[in-house]
Point group: C2
Chain length 267, copies 2
DNA sequence: GTCCAAAAGTCTGGAATCAGACCATTGAGG
DNA sequence: CCTCAATGGTCTGATTCCAGACTTTTGGAC
């Protein structure tokens, strides 16, 4: 075995970007040498696979009690060999995220529930990923989610799309406390996915991921939920209205709120 | 050798995303299984490295006549072994993009100049990457660049940052025809890089990349340049003004124009 | 002309990854 | 109870990728 994961250490922050701590107005070359000559791959296949699966689990794409797709299929979808996938699954199993059962109707069952946050978790999470990376992630998320909302609001929506968006909105509003974060994620990702651009969807998923651990480390409070509900409604309304500017403004406001909340808990 | 590249075939489009052709309002699961269970890696290290270097060359990050960093340094920066890097360099050399000289003051010199487009190039480029991927790329670019502009306009800019932005703007305006695309790229990327978020910068670079081949396949016409100049000025002004909405609107308009231009040449 | 430093070029053993065949376990349905 | 299909578990040989040591070429400095 090559790696051990404990829930406390498992993180989706990924390897640090070398340029992450570059000064804010660094004198980059004529164009982005910094962004282009970055690492080709974030780690070896095993590590990246563990990250990916952990993402799917933590974001609730595969909720508690459900199982991952069969190994063969999953390996194909992830574009890796079954051997590598199995190593990743084993690591997650040993870390307590998965329960693997064999035989027909067997599979890798998710046994993860978002832990209720304890004091100090946030500090630790931030320390683990680095302050610069936190700012980076928040900025990135702001940009891609605003952009996605704008795009979607600009699009002519089909009735089907409108329904999906509305459904996700009520999904968050009706969510049980334990399910809140999961439904919140579902709502945010729906915006990106409905845009019809896989690249954009992937970027939003990635952005959200980078802050999941942090959000999981702060309690879900009633007033925050209510505040968020209003903002979510505003976002959905602006999109359904076909008002790009309003959609963006609403998303920006919402994310600003989340970021402020995080910074508040850190101060 | 594992691969051969000819200038005619070389492309930065990369492997197709399996979900690229998914229906616009496909019934995705409760959350984006589609975006999360996507391939972990886009290809093998060699292929990805070739793409990356080709990007740096085509985007003009390393302009004609300049050389890439020394192999050892570059390999470290790209996070790959020197052997793999060398294979990629050799492929690009054989394809005529690089001239490799040894000895002190040697190195891998870029000999690429953006080819003047010929009729049919665009059609071929689109065929190569696929219509769905084209829409995906355009959407993605719209989202991330709009988002980046918004973020930057929201930021309190240092004098240094303001200067950089202004410099890049005049860079495009004063560019010789042969340098136009390069300077245009530099301007667009500057917006993302000035945001201080490496993730965002990388996303914008990636987005731009996915349409470079297409843009290179259409002629640079005087009226288009003039039109673009006005829009670039509007973007810079809105950012310097600290007006997020205006900044975004300006970027959206500009990119819409580019997209329309592309579609026009395709029709 | 000699020396030297910086660069590309070469070689080797080992680790990671893959594709694919095959085995073992399980629960549902006949 | 037996069979079967779906699933995880295991093995093997080939390929890719790596780290690092070593060699060769080149042009400037003295």
């Amino acid at each position: 075995m090559r790696m051990e994961i404990t829930p406390a250490e498992a993180s989706v922050s990924g390897p640090r970007t070398p340029a992450a701590s570059a000064s804010r107005d660094a004198a980059v070359g004529i164009t982005g040498a910094v962004s282009l000559l970055r690492p080709v791959r974030a780690g070896n296949a095993f590590e990246e696979t563990v990250e990916r699966l952990l993402q799917a689990i933590k974001l609730g794409v595969v909720p508690h009690g459900e199982k991952l797709p069969p190994e063969r299929e999953l390996a194909t979808r992830l574009g890796i060999s079954r051997v590598t996938l199995r190593e990743a699954i084993r690591a997650l199993q040993e870390a307590g995220y998965l329960d693997v059962r064999r035989g027909r109707y067997g599979g890798a069952f998710v046994v993860y529930r978002p832990p209720s946050p304890r004091k100090g978790d946030l500090r630790r999470a931030v320390t683990r990923m680095g302050e610069d990376d936190l700012e980076d992630a928040l900025t990135f998320r702001m940009a891609v989610e605003c952009g996605a909302a704008r795009v979607l609001a600009t699009t002519e929506l089909t009735p089907r799309q409108r329904e999906t968006l509305a459904a996700r909105l009520s999904g968050v509003n009706d969510a049980a406390p334990a399910d809140y974060r999961r439904m919140d994620i579902a709502f945010h990702l729906a915006i990106a996915e409905l845009s019809g651009s896989p690249l954009l969807a992937a970027a939003c998923a990635d952005a959200r991921l980078r802050v999941t651990d942090l959000l999981n480390a702060i309690p879900v409070l009633r007033p925050n939920i209510e505040h968020a509900a209003v903002q979510h409604a505003a976002i959905a309304a602006a999109i359904l209205d076909g008002d790009p500017e309003a959609a963006e403004r609403a998303v920006a406001e919402h994310l600003e709120g989340t970021a402020a909340l995080l910074r508040g808990f850190l101060a």
